[in-house]
Subunit: 337 residues, 2 copies
């Protein structure tokens, strides 16, 4: 069974799709008001509920997980940093082996049902999340208000309580200095956008997460449609920018292959440099310049070279210096697979 993030996709620009539906259990106080007993109550309710649905979900308590495992899930964007690093230790996750389903329990809401998919896959991811929400709903009574819809801990999620996030790789828009303009337009469309690595909207790896703001007064389908329209425009803009770059083919190939040369030959490499080089390599693979590897391998390289996943993979805790060396080793290993 392949992890979702290791799958090959046909879509160049979109790395992954995430759907997140927030739900709370009626009769149990919301997170900021709940006692330890309430928290266990939520976990136990979920333990029973997942027995009746068929997704191979297993409950793991955060307090039983070591830091590297938690950090490795953060690096894969499967759980939120705030949730994983919360000291109250009342959190849990329900996760399957492929890791394309992960329900965060006692995060900001009692339940945050998440589904993940490589590439652009909004409809399927939403279908799966909705299906899980419905099946769980047969055993769980969700907090719901006729006027507002589903109630959530934070008012910004009330209504559909649906957040859809798309991870996009936008190296050409960044390189041609058009990214700022494009991001401004997005903001006016009620979309959130942020760089995945680095502060604010800047992004070392040229990876950006685009998600909907609105949850109230729209349907799930409308949310998906709106986001899809925006993403399509972004793909179009990025492809236009890539066309501009390919007008200087030698310069582009040179930049990409120098990155590939360093990446595959270095003996030690930091996580930041790795992220930067992988962005160029990903662009090279997308454009058919680098034929040596597939985009699935780029995805694998991106995950396995992150600090916690690297340590998880090698089954040992390592200092930064050792990680930089082992990162170079694992790169060569994955490239040669």
């Amino acid at each position: 069974m392949l992890n979702w993030y290791l799958e090959t996709t046909n879509e160049d620009t979109v790395i992954s799709t995430r759907i997140r539906i927030a739900r709370n259990i009626s009769g149990i106080p919301f997170i900021n008001k709940m006692t330890q007993e309430d928290a266990y109550n939520v976990i136990n309710t979920m333990k029973k509920a997942i027995q009746n649905i068929d997704y191979g979900l297993k409950i793991l308590l955060l307090k039983d997980m070591d830091d590297i495992t938690k950090l490795s899930l953060i690096e894969k964007h499967i759980i939120s940093p705030e949730f994983a690093l919360n000291k109250t230790n009342l959190g849990a996750i329900a996760i399957n082996e492929e890791e394309n389903i992960c329900i965060m329990i006692n995060e900001e809401d009692h339940l945050r049902i998440q589904t993940f998919s490589a590439g652009l896959n909004l409809e399927n991811a939403l279908y799966l999340a909705t299906e899980i929400e419905k099946k769980l709903g047969e055993n769980i009574n969700y907090a719901y208000n006729e006027k507002y819809g589903f109630l959530t801990s934070c008012p910004s999620n009330v209504g559909t309580a649906l957040r859809t996030s798309i991870m996009m790789h936008l190296p050409a828009l960044t390189k041609t200095k058009n990214i700022g303009k494009v991001l401004n337009v997005l903001n006016s469309f009620e979309m959130n956008i942020r760089g995945v690595y680095g502060e604010g909207t800047s992004s070392k790896g040229n990876i950006y997460q685009i998600s909907n703001k609105q949850t109230l007064g729209v349907t799930e389908e409308e949310t998906i449609q709106n986001l899809k329209a925006i993403i399509d425009r972004l793909i179009e803009q990025e492809k236009l920018a890539r066309k501009i770059l390919t007008k200087k083919p030698i310069e582009l190939e040179d930049e990409i292959y120098r990155a590939y040369g360093i990446f595959t030959n270095c003996r030690k490499i930091s996580s930041d440099e790795c992220t930067m080089l992988l962005s160029k390599i990903r662009l090279g693979v997308d454009l058919g310049i680098i034929k040596e590897i597939t985009n699935a391998k780029v995805n694998k390289l991106e995950i396995y070279t992150k600090p916690a996943n690297l340590q998880k993979q090698l089954g040992q805790v390592m200092d930064g210096y050792t990680r930089d060396i082992k990162r170079a080793d694992i790169i060569k290993q994955i490239i040669c697979e």
Copy 2:
């Protein structure tokens, strides 16, 4: 028949050995006083003289050679820039196919008999040069003075008129910042040292040329012995410095393999960058870190990537931009041979 500069050597630090013996023909005015007729007289004398000796030498007149051919010989350090670029067009060379013998005719002296060898090969190179000098002397009457020895155009060469030059690669002494100290010591031993690429004693490719100053009051054998002693010390110092570098093996390997990665993957590369990367690669090959290529291949890469040799090799005159691209091509070609 292999060109001398493409031969494999056992010596890490010494790239090549050159012997140069200056001679003038008795009865013909020295260069700065000679007429065009005198110059032709020298050339014709040599034409006859080489018929009686057996080294496969051919006379080529500078005025019949195109610029790229002349520049390619300069890049190989076979002829001097001043000689090649002289507009009076009275110069010629007598050269064999392996290019390990090249007599410059009408350079600063009537004859400058030069022999070349890969690696450290003083005795053999001197033996060959002396043999040629003797055989030519059977047909040519050299300008000679009982008191001073052989007479030369510039007083600094009078006596043996012997200049021996050793081309050394000293990356570790440079990197450990000991090169300045070492060069100062050399100066006090009456040796000339200069960086081969770049101004003064700095050297982009970490390649230095060491040659004797003294020609008066010493024998040829003493000159060789003195130089040999200095070179041995330099080799020793460089090897000590290399040992220091190998104390941080990961850092060293990382630096060397990053250079190798860029070198073998780039799509365009300047001559300067090429020189810098080749220095690191040469060190890597010397230390057994890079096993993919031999030092003979490094020598070949160094010669064939120089601007004029690149154009000579490809049989076309190219602008700088095109050369940078073709240089990257030829690197890949030679690496894969």
